[in-house]
Chain length 221, copies 2
DNA sequence: TAGCTTGTTATCCACTTGGACAACAACCGG
DNA sequence: CCGGTTGTTGTCCAAGTGGATAACAAGCTA
C-alpha cells in the first residue's frame, strides 16, 4: 500500500496557479526544441504528464498558450536581468549583457523572429521586449559614460547597434556554428569597445557571466 | 473555339524542367510567407495551379521539395551576386553587399535559422552558404585593402563580423521594425568603415544597390 | 496511325491536429 | 457529512496533412 513520495494516484490535484506555471514552462521548453509553430497541445500535455484536454482547461486555445509562454519568457527574463545588472559595476554589467547566452535562450528568440511576421501578437510582444532591452542596455551605456570609462554620442543608437551585433553573432554561433563561444564574445566585445572608446580587452577581462536568458535551463548535452 | 493565349485546356502539359522550376519557385514564395515548416503540399499545388498529387510526381517527399527550394535560393543568390560584384569597384561592391535587402529575402533566411537546428539537411546547406558568403565578402575586403582604401588585419574575421552585423541589423529592421532602411544601412556601413579604417560616409555615398537576394521578388505591398 | 512514355488528375488512406464535451473525483465551505 | 466548485480524465469529432495509386491524356517515336 506504501505509495512513493511523489504521489501518482489518479485524481491528485494541483493548485490552479501551480499547474498553469507548469504548463507554461513545459511549453517554453518545447518551443525551444520545436519552434512556436511546432508545439502541439498533445506534446505539451505529455511533457507535463496530463491529458491534452487539461491544457484546454487552462488555455482557451493553442494560440493563447503559445502567447502565454512567450510572455513568460520575456517577462521573467527582464525581471531577473534588470536586478542582476544593477548590482554590478558598469563594465561588468555591459560585458554581462553582451556575453553569449545559452542555446535554448536563443532558439526561442530566433523562432520568435521567424514567427513574428505571421503572428501579430508575437510581433507586438517582441517589439515591446526589444524596447525594454534597448532601454536596459542604454542605461548601462550611460553608466559607463557617467563613470568616465567611455564615450557615446547617442547611447540609444549605440544600444541598438550592439544589440544587432549580439544577435547576429548569436546566429553565427548557435545556428551556423561558424564561430565558437570565445570568438562570439570577442566579436561583440570588440565592436563595443571600439564604439564606446573603451580600453581594448576590458570587457573580456571583466570575466562576464551572461546576464540574459536565465529562465532557460542549460541545453541537455 | 478560340482559346485564350494562355492555354487552360485539361491535360495541357509542360516540360519536366519547366514545371519543376515553377514548383520550386512557388515553394520558395510560400516559404517566405509561411516558413519552412508551414508550407503544405496542397498550398504549393494550389499556388502552381495543379493538383497536389503532381507535386509528389516531381518530388518524392515534402522534405525533398523544401530542400530543393532552399537549395535554389542559395544557388541562384550566389550565382547572381558574385557576377554582379565583380563588375564594381571595391567600395561599391562592399556597399552593395552590405546594403539592406528586401523583405522576402530575409524572411527565408530567418526561417532557415529557426528550422536548421531541427533539420540537418537545412543546417548543412546553411553552413555551406555561410562559408560561400564569407568567402565572397572576404574577397571584397581584400580588394578594398589592395586598392589602398582601407586596412584589415584578418579579412576573414572582418567578413564574419560584418556578416553578423548585417544579419542582426536585418532582424531589427525586418522583424522588429525598430529601425528603418536608412538607419539599417547607416549602422552596417558605420561599423564597416570603422572596422576597415575607411573614410566615414564613403559607403553611403557609394549609393549602393543591394547585391543580395535578387531571386526574391520585392514584397507584395 | 499504333504504341510507349510520362505529365496530370482524381481519389483513397492512415494519421495527427485543435477543439468540444460529459463524466469523474478531489477539495472546500457550509 | 453534504453539495457545489473545479481540477482532471477519456472519448469523440471535423479538418487537414503527407503519401499511395489507378486511370487518363498529351506528346513522342517508330
Amino acid at each position: 500500500m506504501a505509495q512513493s513520495a511523489v504521489e501518482k494516484r489518479p485524481g491528485a490535484r494541483k493548485s490552479s496557479d501551480e499547474r498553469r506555471d507548469e504548463i507554461v514552462r513545459a511549453t517554453l521548453r518545447l518551443v525551444a526544441a520545436k519552434g512556436f509553430a511546432g508545439v502541439t497541445l498533445r506534446e505539451v500535455a505529455t511533457e507535463v504528464g496530463v491529458v491534452h484536454g487539461l491544457i484546454r482547461h487552462y488555455f482557451a486555445s493553442r494560440d493563447e498558450l503559445v502567447a502565454a509562454a512567450f510572455d513568460f519568457a520575456v517577462t521573467s527574463e527582464l525581471a531577473t536581468d534588470q536586478q542582476q545588472l544593477d548590482g554590478l559595476d558598469p563594465i561588468a554589467a555591459l560585458a554581462g549583457w553582451l556575453a553569449a547566452t545559452n542555446e535554448n535562450h536563443y532558439h526561442v528568440w530566433i523562432d520568435a523572429w521567424s514567427e513574428a511576421p505571421r503572428t501579430p501578437a508575437l510581433a507586438a510582444a517582441l517589439a515591446r521586449h526589444h524596447d525594454d532591452c534597448e532601454r536596459i542596455l542604454t542605461r548601462v551605456i550611460e553608466r559607463v559614460v557617467d563613470a568616465g570609462l567611455g564615450a557615446s554620442a547617442d547611447p540609444a543608437a549605440d544600444s541598438r547597434l550592439l544589440t544587432a551585433v549580439a544577435d547576429g553573432v548569436a546566429v553565427q554561433h548557435h545556428v551556423v556554428g561558424a564561430i565558437d563561444v570565445d570568438e562570439a564574445n570577442d566579436m561583440v566585445f570588440g565592436v563595443a569597445e571600439r564604439q564606446l572608446g573603451l580600453e581594448p580587452g576590458i570587457l573580456a577581462r571583466a570575466n562576464p557571466v551572461p546576464a540574459r536568458g536565465q529562465w532557460a535551463e542549460a541545453p541537455a548535452r
